[in-house]
């Protein structure tokens, strides 16, 4: 279960120290997309700390995180869970090397409610 190498890489990419977490759950309390996630922000932190990363990489939750950074903003311990999720996502993308979002697909996905920043960051992340 323990995957030290992977854990170290995730910590390096994210610059997050999950040991700072005091398990207050404010990240999950503040998460606007909580119900869509199999693993919630506080679980992410806990699972990375325990090296239990494969289930995270396989989970849909990775892609349901909105990267709104509410958890980063409100974490009293400055753990920054969203950065950790982002790092796991990057680990998956790097492993696959695929191109998930093409520029021509974007117009169809546009939505008035969707913040523009989300599209920009999604494009940056999911395309090569």
């Amino acid at each position: 279960m323990e995957n030290t190498n992977l854990k170290e890489r995730i910590l390096e990419i994210s610059g997050v120290n999950p040991r700072k977490c005091m398990k207050c759950g404010k990240c999950s309390a503040t998460c606007p997309n909580y119900d869509e996630m199999e693993y919630h922000p506080h679980q992410f932190v806990d699972m990375v700390e325990k090296g239990n990363i494969e289930p995270l990489m396989a989970s849909e939750s990775l892609w349901t995180c909105l990267s709104c950074f509410a958890c980063v903003e409100r974490c009293p311990r400055s753990v920054e869970p969203a950065k950790l999720i982002e790092a796991v996502r990057l680990a998956v993308i790097r492993a696959q090397g695929g191109n998930h979002l093409k520029p021509q697909d974007i117009p169809d996905k546009l939505d008035d409610e969707l913040p523009q920043q989300a599209i920009v960051s999604a494009f940056r992340k999911y395309s090569k």
Partner: protein, 664 residues
Amino acid sequence: MQRIGVFVCWCGSNIAGTVDVKQVAEMLKHEPGVVFSTDYQYMCSESGQNLIKDAIKEYDLTGVVVCSCSPRMHENTFRKAAASVGLNPYMVEIANIREQCSWIHKDMPVGTAKAVILGRAAVAKVHLNAPLTAGESPVAKRALVIGGGIAGIQTALDIAEAGFPVDIVEKSPTIGGKMAQLDKTFPTLDCAACILTPKMVEAAQQEKINIYAYSEVDSVKGFVGNFDVTIRRKARFVKEDLCTGCGLCTEKCPMKKVPNEFNCGMDNRSAIYIPFAQAVPKVATIDASYCIKKKTGKCGLCSTVCGVGAIDYDQKDEFIEQKYGAIVVATGFEPISVEKFDEFAYSQSPDVVTSLEYERLMNAAGPTSGTLLRPSDKQHPHTIVFVQCVGSRCDAKNEKGKQYCSKVCCMYTAKHAMLTREKYPDTDVYVFYIDVRTPGKNFDEFYRRAVEDYGVHYIKGMVGKVVPENGKLKVQASDLLANEQLHIDADMVVLAAAIEPDKSARPLATMLTASMDTNDFFTEAHPKLRPVESPTAGVFLSGMCQGPKDIPDTVSQASACAAKVIGLLSKDKLTGNPCVAHSDELLCNGCSSCEKVCPYGAITYADKEFRMPDRTTAVRRVAQVNPAVCQGCGACTVACPSGAMDLYGFSNQQIMAEVDAICK
């Protein structure tokens, strides 16, 4: 030339095992000035000490070198022995040939050679030793307590009980502090006013206690036993000796829209006011920033209705100078501002309150006369969410909060939750906690009662956001044990705000040259063994100013602090450490370098007249060290560019001589 005796100790086999003590004694005999040298099995024993005493008398020794264990161990023993036969104790030097020689070197020739060198260095130092006498300073038998909360009151009462006069300086118009604002106190639930107000009255009636309310410390000079303090008595515009506290003026005052601090601004008071019914001293105060007469010159209604003519619009600040032997800091705390935590919507809805505000809402003397009504529509709340650790236990990088645990929030939240459920059983009460910390007598039992007997819902998790919507507060929170996100429609949200030291603490610390930590709590002289003393001699710490604590802890610390003050004040004279700095006035050029590095403010400057070579006189500014304040660190001796500063017991020449002896 000194006549020096050298005494080499065997310490059984501790030293003699790896150092040839006979040879050390023999070698040191040939050092200049050494007239006697011997070795003995246990120098620290009665007979060893007698050996030293006899030799001092027989050989008329002026200096003694003991080659033995660390000076931290037996320097005092040998100094006392020397003093008992008339040799100045500061003429004794120790060469540490046990901890720093025999115990770490296995090889006899190596150990012996090093012991000889250490002995030589000590002999070289003794040559330059001078007899020292510890200075004495008188003790002013009066204590100053800064802050009139429960900590200050308790300390003052205990000191007064021992017969010493005490002055309490309190910046607000009445003593009582934060405890006066509390409703009930955990874990016994007795009412705060019922146990505090008798103490306030006792303080007012105690002959030895003098209360300077609505006053502040303006300046502090001097040192332990001899502080010169100036106290500013702020103008109340009411003659304290005439006012009877009848309150007629407060009723008639036309300016009634002043936020009432005592109720955390949740209701209004008049511009002339008495903070609360049990205030001590019970005297009215005019708030000049709201008073119509003070602002426009027209009105004067209070002066008209006052039957005793106590109103004085032209009153000025008054300054009192007083000498004190000891100063107690009891400046207390305040809750942090929770506006920064915008996720809790404190500034968006009046129904989001801090715990101290909730305390006032529950209090019979509060803005709602003790009926729990939510501030927005004065309706009875049915769902109340308590949020713990708001601003406590934050990471150092988090600029909004504090790193420490505020210690009292777990218990007062349990109290609030319990009292709410007791008075209004139809209310749903949720407490969101990270950890429930209840280390204290009857504390955990209290918390369990809140859960088991009163049915308070304790949920492990944190509130993420609060959104005011249609007269409700939408609370989004996590329940970590159920691994769920909760959405609660609450009527009120109560934030357990972290506490921080009172804002007046830092300027006061500068005045007192007392040290503070990064959170502005005063630091204690030793965190375990000297918890109520500041590292600055004569300054003592009482209550929250030193760190978060509840009422029982505060009162214990206040009494402990009083015991330390009484111990100091019952001395007639203080004996100092004679190893202090002194300046050579002929060399000093008055540059102030030494003053700047002195952590104790022991250095002052005086203009002195000097005779010049041409028989004229010139006035020069020279440094003077107060030996009662100087602790002998020596920072000034190095800072001094002209070499005028030196340290008794560790003089420049003495240390140079040691260097020379070692590097021979």
